[in-house]
């Protein structure tokens, strides 16, 4: 059972979120049509773990870039232009590009892992949330807590409250 309250005003929505959080509701989703820093602060999201993926990707990219250039140069020994076989300056350019390529790809991966997307299953959602509505979703509330959550949402100024089955 999930309770979904939809707001027209950002401030009301944030008030409801704050109150729900302080009343001990943990599984709150705050749906908004634009990123709201306040909402992220209420949920205490802090620094995202995505940054670890970026760092890991960049390091792996740097190592594999230089390794690729070196290893492929050693497959066949083909001297060119009087240069050494393992020529560091040009290989550093390859390293540089691979650092960025892997950094970007790992950041993308990190985004998918951390955000839980893609999630094509049905989840509590109002289609107007991508336009101009702010939606609070409380999930996993015990049966006796449902009324309390509903009251908080209504008091904050929600125009519309729905009960939706979870995971449908």
């Amino acid at each position: 059972m999930a309770i979904m309250g939809s707001f027209a005003f950002e401030e009301d929505f944030l008030t409801a979120a704050k109150k729900l959080k302080s009343s001990g509701f943990d599984k709150i989703s705050l749906l908004s049509p634009l990123p709201l820093e306040e909402a992220q602060e209420i949920l205490e999201l802090g620094k995202s773990p995505v940054r670890h993926y970026s760092l890991a990707g960049a390091i792996i990219g740097a190592i594999s870039g230089f390794a690729m250039a070196t290893a492929t140069a050693l497959v066949f020994i083909l001297p060119t232009g009087g240069r050494a076989i393992i020529t560091v300056p040009p290989f550093l350019i390859i390293t540089y590009e691979m650092t960025i390529l892997f950094g970007v790809l790992f950041t993308l991966l990190g985004f998918h892992f951390v955000s839980g997307l893609p999630a094509w299953r049905d989840r509590p959602y109002l289609s107007s949330a991508s336009s101009d509505r702010f939606v609070v979703v409380v999930e996993g509330a015990a049966a006796d807590q449902v009324a309390r959550a509903e009251a908080i949402i209504r008091d904050a100024g929600a125009d519309e409250i729905q009960h939706v089955g979870e995971g449908q």
Partner: protein
């Protein structure tokens, strides 16, 4: 492990080779050169160079691995003409080799700057990087009218469109000479055994070819001539061709 480290260290060395097996070198005595262009014709016949025709020639798309450059000196009537045969200099530090993304050109163990036609994808970067302008591109697939295709050299490939080509120092003749040396249980090719087409056809013997690693070879002796110089030496491409300057009276 130690051999691995040793190898890696070796691979880090600029130039990579301490010494080539053979260092094929040519000397061109400009004092002897008459500008007769026999070398150009010989090269054309030996290496299956296409005859591009009048129209393509006017478009500056002819292919001649060796060419005689003409330079005029002075004003009419006191005018002199100088010749200089220009062919691939087989530079030890060739700018063209580093440019190729697919290793279609590289330096082999004989000190030759080789061109592998079927690996070439036609970026033409090597021709831009070459300061001697001795790389020629196949702008079209050229054909030989009957019965001219009968005179093609079977030892040399015919190149298709989109491929770069250049002087190989008649690598097919070098290969044959090396094979013969092996068959005779000799390990080395004798001096004078390899003669590229241009050298063979030079009526004044202005061109001398040989292995400059061998101090007894004729070419090594010619290189010591005080008249010797290398073209565009200041670019540090270390060419394998030594020119002997003309003696001015």
């Amino acid at each position: 492990m130690s051999t691995f480290v040793e190898k890696l260290r070796q691979y880090r060395k600029p130039g990579y080779y301490d010494k080539f097996d053979y260092h094929w070198t040519m000397t061109i005595d400009l004092d002897r050169c008459t500008g007769c262009e026999a070398c150009m014709v010989a090269c054309q016949a030996e290496n299956n160079l296409p005859i591009v025709g009048e129209k393509r020639f006017a478009e500056n798309r002819e292919i001649k691995w060796i060419r005689i450059e003409r330079y005029w000196e002075g004003e009419y009537p006191d005018v002199k003409m100088r010749f200089i045969p220009m062919l691939c200099q087989h530079c030890d530090d060739a700018p063209c080799e580093t440019a190729c993304p697919v290793f279609a050109t590289y330096h082999n163990q004989d000190g030759l700057n080789t061109q592998i036609y079927n690996r070439c994808i036609g970026t033409r970067t090597c021709a831009v990087y070459c300061p001697y302008e001795v790389r020629y591109f196949n702008w079209f697939t050229y054909t030989w009218d009957e019965p001219l295709e009968q005179q093609l050299n079977p030892d040399v490939t015919v190149r298709e469109k989109g491929v770069m080509e250049k002087c190989t120092f008649c690598i097919q003749r070098i290969r044959i000479a090396k094979d013969n040396a092996k068959d005779d249980d000799r390990r080395r090719v004798r001096d004078g055994e390899v003669v590229p087409a241009c050298v063979q056809s030079c009526p004044t013997e202005a061109l001398v070819f040989g292995n400059s690693n061998d101090p007894e070879a004729k070419v090594s002796k010619m290189m010591k001539n005080p008249r010797g110089y290398k073209v565009l030496e200041e670019l540090n491409t270390t060419p394998s061709i030594v020119y002997l300057t003309k003696v001015h009276s």
